[in-house]
Amino acid sequence: MKIRVVKYSDEWTVALEAFNARLAAAGSSVAFPPPPDPRIIPPKFHHGLQQVRYLAVEERSETGAGADCVSQVRGAYTLKFQPFWLGGEVLDVADFMLPVSEGIVDRAYTQIAPSLLLDAIQRHPLLYGLGMGGFDEAVARFLKAAGWQLFSVPFFFYIVHPFRFLRNIVHLRRGRLRQTLLDLLAFSGCGWIAGNGWKLLHAARGTVDRTARVELVADFQAWSDEVWDAARRHYGMCSLRDAATLRRMYPREADDFQRIKVLREDKVIGWALVLNTQLRGHRHFGNMRLGSIVDCFAVPEDAAAVVEQARSLLVQQGVDLVISNQSHRAWCAALKTCGFVSGPSNFIFTSSKTLTRKMEEKQIRPDELHLNRGDGDGPINL
């Protein structure tokens, strides 16, 4: 078998469609999407970050008269390039995204996935991945087998409406007995009592900074550069979050995002990007109205003030549940201070050997990375 890896271009559209069709015909729900046409689907996030799609192509030379070379796509991946702050340096790091191989449906192509990874590493050694759905998923196991570092990014939730939470939380409602118990809690009011008891307990701690205020803004302007300049040295590693990069990550026309600026007196101390989404049949959150603190930034001491303002805004807007994934210890502590509870996380960070070595050289620990749902694939499924 002869495999070469090529950059995706329009000439590969038909071969890619055939590849996706073979996966689907074999019962796979996985497909490798061609680049979206911005005239048809306006980009919602990360549109300004360079993404390059690569295809593993098998070339078979037909023999005999009229010999021809037949090319078939057997696998694919995407690199999304983004500058990262890493221990005082700015480095171009790439997100290794959407790796798909025909090996998932046909063992004759078992070698494709390792070949794709080798190709990606040779093109750009500083690679990471984020999300993946848990340590047990094939991609996570595959990258672990390749010697990549993996750890989970903690998940936090804040229940606003216990009744709707108990009736919709899909993960906890698996099984007839569990459903009945949760319905009993919901309809008896016990869930409400427990939820509000937790909030009262949290409020009694009195640790949340209530001197800050919030402003909804249409875009990230120079004030976000000031936050970036003041805060970046407090983080071991994070993607750049200056104004220009933020506008590429969250374009102004993506108006379902709410961008909030958090101020103390007249000084901007931080920002958050939140989503308020009415879900329909979500695989984790059912039909809840979900609030998400997708992204945020501030010096660590102001993290709780930012979280509290984001949480309050979403609560005022009537969400049933507020969630966030955060890796940095200051943001994890801030979420707990603001009444959030940690839950099981299936949001996995992974770094290539070269990136891991860089992190080790700079003595950066996992809880010094600032990662959240704004990174990686971006806020999908929220």
Binding site: M1, I104, Q111, I112, P114, L118
Partner: protein, 77 residues
């Protein structure tokens, strides 16, 4: 060296000691020889034998015998 190849296989694919490896065996014949197993095998071969595999070599590892042959060639002094 040949025993080491078998050991690398057993570790990468998490094979039981009782499983007999034979040169003609390919992906369908060896339990666990999927993409994750293949990646584990490549990592194991590289660290165990101090070799580095390129894409053509990774693609060419399609049988137990092909693995033995490649390791023999790459470790020849």
């Amino acid at each position: 060296m040949q025993d080491n190849v078998a050991t690398a296989f057993r570790k990468a694919m998490r094979l039981q000691e009782s499983f007999a490896l034979a040169d003609p065996m390919s992906f369908d014949d060896v339990p666990g020889w999927d993409s994750v197993g293949h990646m584990s095998l490549v990592t194991e071969l590289e660290s165990r034998f101090g070799i580095s595999l390129d894409m053509d070599e990774i693609v060419g590892l399609d049988s137990v015998g092909a693995v033995r042959t490649l390791v023999a060639r790459k470790t020849q002094v």
